[in-house]
Subunit: 226 residues, 2 copies
């Protein structure tokens, strides 16, 4: 059932259709009428996502990013106030991708609510596969910056909370229709699934393999939601 998913090409956050402008949710700059600026910004965000996912925050150098993208320094600082601002824009872009997967999976109301939740994690696994099993950007940056940057820590916790709240909706629907026990706490169950998923994503980053993710999906649906 998991392998079936890989027959559909996973959406990659790195390959973006160049004709569709995309604005990060927290953009503080006014969208420029100059399309080339959009392309530059998108290029920085795309390469930034790949680099942050591979190296983490502290080991990512803006200078390397400028060389890799052939973008001049002034242009970078036209779009982003600082490295932290840049990283937060990359996180927004990544989160938008995750929420698009939530839209696709949870919006498929032809399927039973628990199947929609499972579909979300399978789609997320396909995203990780397309990135070479480097784990979760939110988990990765949250861990690295949690203790030294309170703004980042709250932002990452807010990201997890937002995903858990969306997952709690179909879990609540499942509870109401008797697919989960009446006494189940949908939000708590969603948080537990997400924490198990993040641990599995971290292990998958160590092993460069889908196995921990597959096991997390199986155990969530065989046991956590039993």
């Amino acid at each position: 059932m998991i392998l079936r998913l890989f027959n559909t090409p996973p959406r990659s956050p790195v390959v973006i259709d160049p004709v569709i402008p995309s604005e990060p949710m927290t953009s503080t700059s006014i969208p420029s009428p100059d399309q080339s600026l959009h392309i530059t910004k998108r290029r920085l965000l795309d390469v930034g996502l790949a680099t942050l996912l591979e190296r983490g925050y502290n080991a990512t150098g803006i200078q390397d990013l400028l060389v890799a993208t052939s973008v001049p320094k002034g242009s970078f600082y036209h779009h982003f106030v600082s490295k932290e601002d840049f990283a937060l824009h990359v996180v927004d872009r990544y989160l938008a991708e995750v929420h698009a997967l939530l839209d696709q999976a949870l919006g498929d109301t032809d399927r039973a609510p628990l199947e929609r939740v499972r579909s979300f994690f399978e789609r997320l696994m396909a995203l990780y596969a397309s990135q070479g099993y480097l784990g979760s950007l939110i988990g990765l940056l949250g861990q690295e910056l949690a203790a030294v940057n309170t703004a980042f820590r709250r932002r990452m916790e807010g990201a997890f909370d937002g995903i858990a709240r969306r997952l709690a909706e179909p879990l609540e629907e499942a509870r109401r229709r008797g697919d989960l026990p009446a006494e189940a706490d949908p939000l708590q169950a969603a948080n537990l699934m997400l924490d198990c998923w993040e641990g599995a994503a971290a292990r998958s980053r160590l092993l460069r393999s889908a196995a921990p993710l597959e096991a997390a999906i199986e155990v969530s649906f065989r046991t956590v939601l039993a």
Copy 2:
């Protein structure tokens, strides 16, 4: 049951009895007959653990560490070849602490095997509490360095594998005596528990709270092992 644990003072890896010499498992230097060198090395490892756990690898500066410990640079490089070598010694020290908790918890054969496993996670939670809920050093450094340092990635994966194998022993005992289903796979179950735990540890680092860890213990014992 979880709160009860906190009535016993948690062992802290930062407060070490100064009369007991402690050698990291991978020490490449011959133990010095000069006890003061041991003290210096231990001091560097103790402060290094606290610093790495707070900041991660890349944001930890050797210079800051030397200032914090009042240790001269030459003395640091007498004990450690490089920052990476130093971090690996800190990891060894941390892992020795985790394995000591495993010894205590799993060695208590008066308790049923599943209770011994639960006791290990409760002890680990007490350790995290004593550190201010900064999560798991192995998880943290593994994530940060997984993609850029193959030696580190394998070392961290080896650490998880070693812990999972030890947890699989009481799980196998539980399976044999009928506390787990006959078809249960003890090593797979141990890895799943550990992955969920690591995800909960990461979330606990974001929230600075025991709640995700408590939930992970509850769900492991109510469901994963059901």
